[in-house]
Amino acid sequence: MSKAYLILENGQVFEAESFGYEKEVIAELVFSTSMAGYMELLTDPGYYGQMVVQSFPLIGNVGYIGQDMESDKIHLSAYIVRECAEVPSNFRCEGDLRSFLIENKIPAVSGVDTRALVKIIRDNGVMNAKISFSKDYTTEELEEIKGYEVVNAVKSVTSTEVVKKDNGKEKTVALINFGIRASAEKMLDGYYNVIKLPADVTAEEVLSYDPDGIILSDGPGNPKENEEIIRVISSLVNKKPILAFGLGHELLALANGLNTKKLRYGHIGSNQPVRDEKTGRVYITSQNHGYFVTDEISEEKAVIRFRNVNDSTCEGIEYKNGDISTQFSVDLSDGPQNTSFILGQFSELMK
């Protein structure tokens, strides 16, 4: 294994060992505190344009498990761990993690003091970084790192074709795909007939299928970059009941005239506590988002239904017209659950 270096936009350099594909890359550096589920994380379209550092030190223990992929490939730009298991062990293991990363041409480094790295992100906020094979950098290089922005995120991960799935259910929903994860899609298939649409679909086309409701999926990037999509959504509001998750939740908020902001360092992990303001119950949710909807909401239009227990930021909205959105995932396979009642509420809305 050759030496590699992680160069942060503030000039700090971490020495590491390269164990993935050997190429240099610049991306936004975020951390995940999840202790299990690296297969899901690597293939989650939500990490488009980012490099992820795992705070848990032992990664790759169960090897490569194809069944657990959230999409057909790895979407993040680079992967940073403390230690990657050389001898994985699991009854479903089909190979090691290292080979999977190399096949997907994803740079990955190990041997990093990942905790020190997480602390830097926590204290300074999200920053960009570069995986490099030389320890020295020029000022131009640093400028390039600083100047990096995640762009065209949704465009890069959405699907291009319309897929109609008759799941033998009573209701049919139009699912606009901003980068949905396989497990979330599978869960929706368990509830509805699904018409999966590309992100650049027009409002007319959506309505032309005459769905019972519309679902806006999760996805990567800054919600504000999707100006056209936000316009499309605003013309769908009040036409059909809408349910939205993650990026979809942020987009729906913008379409309703609300505002979003970037979190200092994102909510990434499977242990985010969210309080249902209506019932007082707290749910442990799985999340991956770098932006949030701000509190400037007029009560005539919407109420904040869910809040993060730790930082009180908005985690879900109930609009006066009945539309619902959550910042967290309401799915069954990846994260802690019990929030599936939201789907029940949406189904009511479609009656």
Binding site: S34, A36, G37, S55, N61
Partner: protein, 1070 residues
């Protein structure tokens, strides 16, 4: 719901003495709980028979009853104190079971006492085997095929139906006590019989064995609103089949894919919901390594050993949160004490790996069966935190104090390959080391997985260590290789030893924080572990948050709980920390025991969770740069550091390294005694059997033998004749011991014990203790009475005089413990320990003298004369206090229960009263003796005891007990005019119409047995069989004539559980 304002006065039930399966973790949990209640303004009434606990301290509870934890006593306390509620989930299984009994017979309702923490329905659903099974079926959670039975025949017929092997699990017993795995019908018959008898409701579960599946545990917390979170997952390195208390455990689980993890987590959540748990709960699963099949093994709706481990592993204070939930709070209303900013309603994320390694008593109990199974045998455990499994494992192993600094075990060198495989298949406490040896010999990971079913992931990690050691041996020790070794957990000394090369530029450890959130939020917890990185968070913490006006002092803790070094030393360490804080120091503690109060992150100003070894200590010292360090409160574990630290120029507060050496080095100590003209039993030093026999001949039998390299009674015996010497020398010499063996004249006199505080000039003796049993039984196993009752004024003065001379000559600054024998009117010194002893907590509580605090002040230079308690012997308390040892014999098969110079007890209870008889009575009841007032008593004593036996037997006869005795003993009793039934010895077989000793015990006619034959140790001997049988049938078996006499005396005095005085010890110290 916020705090329930109706709760004003709560009874907290503690867990009682430390026994195998119920350790110090309940003192930790109970202390946290009591603190929570007090913080909320609730009056706390506590019952706990264990005086060596922090929770029985004045500052923890308002009313403290160190009384037997029995239904009767608890009822009396409720009647007296009239609490409005009782907290039952923090005192382990005993407290929970007891609370259930009180609830079920309507007593609690009658007295308007509300149960906090768990209601009887929840407990029943979790603990009653059938109800549990039904509940699991109702929520579609898979259980293992099983059936509850109450007789052996039903067990056999069910097992024949589901197939062998099967596991027998008795209902309502601790740590699976009395259970086991049966491979065929024969085994099942004997195990089921024991199990049915052990269960208080005579009920066992026969269950299909899933041995070999992964054993995964979850710690879950749920509040009354239904919010629930999992604190931590844990994975046993040893698959199902070995009790989790005897398994090497990692946290979090590391061999599960997210699918499996979520599946089990969801199941755990569904279970606590179905049971409506309010508080902490432990759920254990078996997971098929080859599919998604799993089964729920068991659920404990209370805090437990596992929850203590999970708390320390994550930093999440489970007991504290459970207590808050019990009094009405919800998870989202409780702040996360670690970050101070986030809430308790979240799931901890960790960014390290934790390894727990058990501490077994087999080094002391050489004849006990070492095989591990469903019955827990470990007395304690250590925990280690690392950034890799290898690092955490090596830290755990070296911290377990089992003479290992790597996974290599030199004695295995002599085993052939087939012997080695046999050793692995024996599944004993050394299995992991045998596996390591096999990997070293070239067996593959697959082969060892096949043999042990240990996951390949862990085996590969062991292989990494082997490969690294091979590289060390064969390559140049570069900086890079050295750092790699440090990150894998090796000590500098080990790296140099293996590589035979000098480390050119040694590096020191940096420290990372345990913060519950993997650095996601800034944490305020001063809880650290070492890592070989550059970012040193402990240094930054000290720089930014510690009070720079204060001088730093490091206190070294006592490591794992083991026979001979129990919770008392954690008690002393914690009090030392508190005293230093009070005196204005910035206090650091270093320890590696997850069960204790000392490793709670808010005990000291900073906690280093590290193995207590010289190099690990020097690393902490390097970061902390303390003014001084304290070694005298952590037992042998910390005392052992003295030499190394002192050679490194570290300021050891209190008694100097030289003073400690003088007390431990026999020659120097003898010279000192000579100089002071204080007598000690005559003795010799020998190297082989021949010399030993000669020396014994010269001294005259009996003689006391022990190896010179250990203190505290390890491997000590009394030899009554030449054959004992031969047997014992064989055992010692087989350990390749190069140190000499000490042979002393054994004086069967009164044993006297003194703890004192010394400032180098004067001493304060809080009290003098006298043992019920004459010398020959280890002081930890004797019933100790304060104050001594049989010393005249002259002897008392002489003891005070000698104690002062000894303490002052050794330059003691702090605590000193001295043991004496009074034999034929003359005083002899047995040993002097310039450190805290196991009697310190109990003496502190009874005399009202805060011994550790005063010792700390003396250590720092204050004069005893300025402390306000005077000098010399302190005035006697108005109460008599008796420390009664408690054993874990039920858990240790084949161990002879005969007491001798080697300590066997695992814990102790206190009896406190106005008279000695009443105090002993309370102590014995607290220990668990039924104290029957009728029935039979069987005597079988050795020749040396025969002259005294008639007097004791007569007392029992006078009370109407039926006497039984073996032939020789019966002869003596008959000659004394007593009516006695002769019983045949076991090997004499059963003569028609008469009993032999074994069948008599089986018959249930006996209330007490006195068996003093010392021809013990070897499990097949008659006397050992009798004593083991007594344990199986729960008949109190006394092994010293003095103990039997004391039992007779307190029975004669007419005490019952109804007429003893309940003493609130909190009033004694005021």
């Amino acid at each position: 719901m916020p705090l329930n304002k109706n709760i004003k006065k709560t009874l907290v039930i503690g867990s009682g003495p430390i026994i195998i399966g119920q350790g110090a973790e309940f003192d930790y949990a109970g202390t946290q709980a009591c603190k929570v209640l007090k913080e909320e303004g609730i009056e706390v009434v506590l019952i706990n028979s264990n005086p060596a606990t922090i929770m029985t301290d004045n500052m923890i509870a308002d009313k403290i009853y160190i009384e037997p934890i029995t239904v009767k006593t608890v009822k009396r306390i409720i009647e007296k104190e009239k609490p409005d509620s009782v907290l039952s989930t923090l005192g382990g299984q005993n407290a929970l079971t007891l609370c259930m009994q009180l609830a079920k017979d309507g007593f609690l309702q009658e007295h308007n006492v509300k149960i906090l923490g768990a209601d009887p329905v929840t407990i029943d659903k979790a603990e009653d085997r059938q109800m549990f099974k039904d509940t699991m079926e109702s929520i579609n959670q898979p259980c293992i095929p099983s059936l509850v039975v109450t007789d052996v025949e039903s067990a056999v017929s069910f097992a024949n139906e589901i197939g062998y092997p099967v596991i027998v699990r008795p209902a309502f017993t601790l740590g699976g006590s009395g259970g086991g795995m049966a491979a065929d019908e024969n085994e099942l018959r004997s195990i089921a019989l024991i199990g049915i008898r052990t269960s208080p409701i005579n009920q066992v579960l026969i269950e299909k064995s899933v041995a070999g599946w992964k054993e995964i545990e979850f710690e879950v917390i749920r509040d009354s609103k239904g919010n629930s979170i999992t604190v931590c997952s844990m994975e046993n390195v040893d698959p199902v089949g070995i009790h989790t208390g005897d398994s090497i455990v990692v946290a979090p689980a590391v061999t599960l894919a997210s699918k499996e993890y979520q599946m089990l987590r969801n199941s755990a959540m569904a279970i606590v919901d179905a049971l409506k748990v309010e508080g902490g709960c432990n759920v254990q699963f078996a997971l098929d390594p080859e599919s998604f099949n799993y089964a729920v093994i068991e659920v404990n709706p209370r805090v437990s050993r596992s929850s203590a481990l999970a708390s320390k592993a994550t930093g999440y204070p489970i007991a504290k949160v459970a207590a808050k939930i019990a009094i009405g709070y919800n998870l989202d209303e409780i702040k996360n004490a670690v970050t101070g900013t986030t809430y308790a309603c979240f799931e901890p994320a960790v960014d390290y790996i934790v390894v727990k390694f058990p501490k077994w008593p087999f080094d002391k109990f050489v004849y006990a069966k070492r095989k591990l199974g469903t019955q827990m045998k470990a007395t304690g455990e250590v925990m280690a935190i690392g950034q890799s499994f290898e690092e955490a494992l090596l830290k755990a192993v070296r911290g377990a104090e089992i003479s290992h600094d790597t996974m290599n075990t030199s004695v295995f060198d002599e085993l052939s390959n087939s012997q080695l495989i046999e050793k692995i298949n024996a599944t004993d406490d050394e299995r992991i080391f045998a596996v390591y040896e096999a990997l070293k010999r070239g067996y593959t990971i697959e082969e060892l997985h096949y043999l042990t079913l240990i996951d390949e992931y862990f085996l590969a990690k062991l292989k990494n260590l082997i490969d690294f050691e091979e590289t060390l041996r064969t390559q140049e020790l570069t900086d890079e290789l050295y750092i790699k070794g440090k990150k894998m957990g090796y000590l500098d000394s080990t790296i140099e030893k293996i590589s035979k090369q000098k480390i050119l530029s040694p590096i020191k450890a940096a420290y990372k924080t345990v913060d519950t959130c993997a650095a996601e939020f800034e944490a305020n917890t001063p809880y650290f572990y070492s890592a070989y990185e550059t970012d040193n968070e402990a240094e930054a913490f000290k720089e930014n948050k510690a009070d720079k006006e204060k001088q730093t002092v490091i206190v070294f803790g006592s490591g794992p709980i083991r026979v001979g070094q129990g919770i008392e030393f954690d008690y002393a360490s914690v009090h030392c920390v508190w005293a230093l804080k009070e005196l204005g120091y910035d206090v650091v503690i270093m320890n590696n025991n997850p069960e204790t109060v000392s490793t709670d992150f808010d005990t000291a100003d900073r906690l280093y969770f590290e193995p207590v070894t010289p190099e690990d200590a020097m690393n902490v010292i390097n970061t902390e740069k303390p003014y001084g360090v304290v070694v005298q409160f952590g037992g042998q574990t910390s005392i052992k550091l003295t030499k190394a630290l002192s050679e490194n120029g570290i300021n050891i507060l209190g008694t100097s390294a030289d003073g400690i050496d003088m007390a431990e080095d026999r020659e120097r100590f003898d010279a000192l005694l000579e100089e002071l003209d204080i007598a000690r039993p005559a003795g010799h030093t020998v190297m082989n059997t021949e010399e030993a026999l000669k020396a014994a001949e010269m001294l005259g039998y009996p003689v006391l033998m022990r190896p010179s390299y250990v203190l505290g009674g390890q491997n000590m015996i009394i030899a009554y004749d030449a054959s004992d010497i031969v047997e014992y020398m064989k055992i010692i010499l087989s350990h390749n011991i190069e140190n000499p063996v000490l042979i002393d004249k054994y004086l069967m006199g009164k044993e006297i014990e003194v703890d004192a505080i010394c400032d180098g000039e004067n001493i304060l003796i809080p009290g003098i203790m006298e043992h019920v049993e004459r010398a020959g039984i280890h002081s930890g196993d004797s019933i100790a009475v304060y104050p001594a009752w049989s010393l005249d004024e002259k002897m008392t003065d002489y003891i005070v005089h000698c104690s002062k001379q000894l303490a002052v000559s050794l330059g003691t600054k702090g605590l000193v413990n001295i043991q004496y024998v009074v034999y034929q009117g003359k005083l002899y010194v047995i040993e002097v320990n310039p450190r805290a002893s196991r009697t310190v907590p109990y003496m502190s509580k009874v005399t009202g003298i805060p011994m550790v605090k005063l010792a700390v002040r003396a250590m720092l230079g204050e004069k005893v004369t300025d402390m306000g308690y005077g000098t010399g012997l302190y005035r006697n308390s108005e109460y008599i206090a008796v420390k009664v040892p408690v054993f874990s014999f039920e858990k240790l098969q084949d161990l002879d229960t005969m007491l001798g110079p080697e300590m066997k007890s695992t814990g102790e209870v206190l009896g406190i009263a106005k008279t000695r008889e009443e105090a002993i009575y309370k102590g014995l009841v607290g220990r668990g003796c039924k104290m029957n007032k009728d029935g039979g008593v069987m005597f079988t004593v050795k020749d040396a005891d025969k002259p005294e036996i008639a007097g004791v037997a007569a007392k029992f006869a006078k009370m109407g007990f039926t006497l039984y005795a073996t032939e020789g003993t019966a002869e003596v009793l008959k000659n004394a005019g007593l009516d006695v039934n002769v019983v045949a010895k076991i090997h004499e077989g059963k003569i028609p119409d008469t009993e032999n000793t074994a069948s008599l015990i089986e018959s249930g006619k006996l209330s007490y047995i006195l068996s003093t034959s010392s021809k013990g140790r070897i499990p097949t001997r008659d006397s050992v069989i009798i004593r083991r049988k007594a344990i199986e049938r729960s008949v109190p078996c006394l092994t010293a004539i003095d103990t039997a006499d004391a039992v007779a005396e307190c029975l004669l005095a007419g005490y019952t559980q109804d007429n003893t005085t309940l003493v609130d010890v909190s009033t004694l110290n005021k």
